[in-house]
Symmetry: C2
Subunit: 170 residues, 2 copies
DNA sequence: TTAAATGCAAACCGTTTGCAGTGTA
DNA sequence: TACACTGCAAACGGTTTGCATTTAA
């Protein structure tokens, strides 16, 4: 079965290698925003003949072709999502790192207005809301936004990513 | 003459070394958001006995003390500004990298509302507008957001920083 | 057949850190 | 005098790249 992204690659004239097909398939999984390492992990799970260099080259190529969009939610790693849905923004759960997308026409209009007031033509915009579920108290070893994969030397660096809710740093 | 940040350092019980005093002074220059290299360049201009490791350690310490805030406007380098003024957001000129701060109460309210609608208590938020002056056509060697200091190997990386206006990559 | 894609390992860049020496309080 | 701070250089983590090899079209 041919994934959506695979189809787009073919349309753009890219060669569909085995590795590319796997990566395209993983990227077609809906509703998440994996970083390159996560992508690599999932892809390697399907076919171990994939190197992380290929994953990096592929997401970069796909971004240049307009098939993917790169996001930066802090933590020092780029995350990717398929380009498809219109303008949308992100609500990030600071406890789990989960990302929820939303659209907001009123907000769209307001941003145009602000830019115009400052004398600019709006090229792009980024709105990210960092929040916490009020009913669920933060789990015991509080997992911060960037705690997806525990690391050693750079944990501090990850925890310091912008914006960091006061009191959650480690 | 004692800078605002220097005073805050003393209040927090930090030792005021010559290097620290210089860095504090540079950081007190109003209305910009330098990255560490820029900070280092300016500080070294005032006193050459400053190493970049000290600049990194200082901004980190000052961030932990709540005196500075770290920003990420893409380009792979953290930028810093003094913590002082209330909630504000940023309009970034994609041609020059210049940053304009603004406040917007209506927007503040809207963000609370969106978070609540999604079932979250808002912890923090980030709104960044990337724009271009409509009257000034992009200068010949188009200076992108991250072109503050021309580099060699990582120019491509810098140009790919989120969000990147299509057609301005190099 | 050939240009594009890959794997490997080394390079790169921003940032952090270990250690021995320096300077503030 | 004690301990925070500093400089240097090496380490680190994410990302890119040179080169020889493989592979889709």
């Amino acid at each position: 079965m041919e994934s959506r992204i695979e189809r787009l690659c073919i349309e753009k004239g890219l060669k569909m290698t085995g590795q590319r097909r796997i990566i395209a398939r993983v990227l077609s999984e809906p509703g998440d925003h994996p970083d390159v390492e996560e992508l690599y992990r999932r892809a390697a799970g399907l076919d171990s003949r994939i190197s992380i260099a290929t994953v990096y080259r592929t997401v970069r190529l796909l971004e240049e072709k307009g098939i993917l969009e790169r996001r930066d939610f802090g933590g020092g790693r780029a995350r990717y999502e398929p380009t498809e849905h219109g303008h949308h923004h992100h609500m990030i759960d600071v406890d789990t790192g989960r990302v929820i997308e939303f659209e907001e026409p009123e907000h769209e209009r307001l941003m145009q207005e602000i830019a115009a007031r400052l004398g600019f033509r709006l090229v792009s915009a980024r709105l990210e809301l960092f929040g916490r579920k009020p009913d669920v108290p933060p789990p015991a070893p509080a997992r911060s936004l960037t705690a997806v994969k525990p690391r050693v030397a750079s944990e501090a660096a990850a925890a310091r990513s912008t914006p960091r809710p006061r009191g959650v740093q480690r």
